[in-house]
């Protein structure tokens, strides 16, 4: 998708002045310091002790922006506790991989305000007692060079910053895969427990979160938890970046308070380009929602839950009424099946079977018994992989059957009501379904 950005204007629509995506600063450190002030000094902590920032982050209510929405302060506390019990110094990992094809928020953030992300990494590392923070982006992406240039501008950080480039595979940005890559150079998920917060990079307690989360940490450290809570859904306060795509006039990234309605978000993206049927929320491991049901709900964990939607990694992709949701889903599920690591049978064979079913369904060649088989498969796959890649793909597929139930019935009798000949959701080109027996070069 394109990566245009527009700051959220101050208005009565619930939008506020942007926190993360204000003026484009770029890699110039002096400009960054002028705009945001210098990075706050922190006292050095002893191993197993939390810096004051941890409590401040906890008080802020910041939750992970990579899709999990887990309370960031609690995660930092868990890392500190694990450092105390294991007597190992923790490691910090910033996930700037942006594995979601329909997302561009991490790269937009990295290009506009790389030092906000890096400040957050340094501050979080100090607060949990880590001497190094790894910032990881997809190999071959522009973010790698931007981050390297930004790091080169910095001097005197109390923490070492290292930029790494990881394989551009969807599942390589799963947390255990990312910790595995940083430690051993192999971007494949590993069996958990132990979880990454207690035993991640080289078996050290590892604080790993999304790039946007770190940018928020940098602002909490400067302005405090009270300031952070001034906007957004009280359960997960603050602003969030939303990558809006599909049937909108100006696809791109917008910054809004959490819990802003989808109607307002679409308005910030220039409004819809016609009648819309449904939307992908969260990402390709997220959920379809019907546009009618979702349009006035808060875009937040609690707001979307009643209709099965998820804010996830801040993806909102809108489907026009002339597109076929089943055809779109079939393409995405096929891609997701090919993005797994191929390590776990239920994911490797299960997602391939679901993708095949959806290909048949979207082509109008699936019968009622085939649909029953598909539904049974969707029921038995979740929870049976080492990571949650299969769970996400199955949720995406399952919500398509619910949201497009009329269209499912039409397809079972060999018809499709879509008039459109082009696809709406981006699906990267590349190899499809190539599970590996042992880690090949593509994962290193």
């Amino acid at each position: 998708m394109t990566s245009t950005t527009r700051p959220a204007p101050t208005s009565s629509s619930g939008a506020i002045s942007p926190r993360l995506l204000g003026d484009a600063i770029g890699v110039d450190l002096a400009k960054h310091v002028k705009a945001f002030g210098p990075i706050p000094a922190q006292q050095k902590v002893k191993r197993g002790h939390a810096g004051a920032l941890v409590a401040e982050v906890e008080a802020s209510g910041l939750a992970g922006r990579g899709g999990g929405w887990f309370p960031t302060g609690r995660k930092m506390h868990a890392v500190v506790t694990a450092a105390r019990t294991s007597r190992k110094d923790p490691v910090v990992v910033v996930n700037a991989m942006e594995g979601e094809p329909a997302a561009s928020k991490d790269s937009v953030l990295v290009h506009r305000n790389p030092h906000l992300v890096l400040d957050g990494a340094v501050l979080a590392a100090q607060a949990v007692g880590s001497s190094v923070a790894y910032v990881v982006a997809h190999r071959g992406s522009r973010s790698v060079g931007t981050l390297e240039r930004a790091v080169a501008q910095r001097q005197g950080d109390p923490v070492e910053l290292r930029v790494l480039s990881a394989p551009a595979r969807y599942v390589a940005s799963e947390e255990s895969a990312l910790a595995h890559f940083v430690g051993e150079g192999i971007g494949l998920p590993v069996t958990v427990p132990p979880r990454v917060f207690e035993s991640g990079v080289r078996r050290r307690p590892t604080f790993l979160s999304n790039a946007e989360t770190f940018a928020h940490i940098a602002l909490v450290a400067r302005r405090g938890s009270g300031w952070f809570r001034q906007v957004g859904d009280p359960a997960q306060p603050g602003t969030m970046l939303v990558s809006v795509s599909g049937a909108v006039a100006q696809p791109g990234v917008v910054e809004v308070p959490t819990g802003t309605t989808m109607r307002q978000i679409l308005g910030l993206a220039g409004g819809t380009t016609g009648a819309v049927a449904a939307a992908v929320t969260g990402g390709y491991g997220g959920a379809w929602v019907s546009a009618g049901a979702a349009i006035d709900l808060p875009f937040s964990v609690d707001g979307l839950r009643p209709i099965g939607g998820v804010p996830g990694a801040g993806v909102l992709a809108v489907l026009p009424t002339d597109a076929c949701g089943l055809v779109e889903t079939a393409r995405v599920v096929q891609w997701m099946a090919g993005q797994g690591a191929g390590q776990c049978g239920p994911c490797r064979f299960g997602l391939a079977a679901v993708a095949q079913d959806f290909a048949m369904l979207s082509a109008g060649r699936l019968k009622g018994t085939g649909l029953a088989g598909l539904e049974k498969r969707l029921g038995i796959i979740p929870g049976r992989g080492a990571c949650r890649h299969p769970d996400g793909a199955v949720r995406f597929a399952g919500t398509a059957l619910q949201v497009f139930d009329d269209e499912v019935q039409r397809h079972l009798s060999g018809h499709c009501s879509a008039g459109r000949r082009t696809f709406v959701l981006p699906v990267p080109a590349g190899k499809v379904a190539l599970p590996v027996e042992r880690p090949g070069e593509e994962w290193r």
């Binding site: 899709g67 868990a78 996930n95 947390e175 491991g285 239920p346 992989g385």
Partner: protein, 82 residues
């Protein structure tokens, strides 16, 4: 054996299916041959069969582990990705 559950290392498991033959009380195979395991604690009467299944797994993927007590919330972050 009370308080123990049967689990499988999904990455190690290659779908040999031995477990479902030795412990059919708790394990069935999906259509691709991979185990679907009853998550409730193993009953005393099943303990011998469960141990035999664990010992017979050709990939050493099957395990008997203590049923997790309700872990403190801070120790259970949900999956974080991307």
């Amino acid at each position: 054996m009370s308080g123990h559950i049967v689990t499988v290392d999904r990455i190690a498991c290659d779908g040999f299916g031995t477990c479902a033959q030795l412990l059919p009380e708790r394990i069935i195979l999906d259509e691709w041959g991979y185990p679907i395991i009853d998550p409730t604690p193993v009953k005393g009467s099943e303990a011998q069969h469960a141990k035999r299944a664990v010992n017979a797994c050709p990939r050493l993927a099957l395990k008997l582990v203590k049923a997790p007590h309700e872990a403190p919330a801070a120790a259970r972050p949900v999956a974080q990705r991307r």
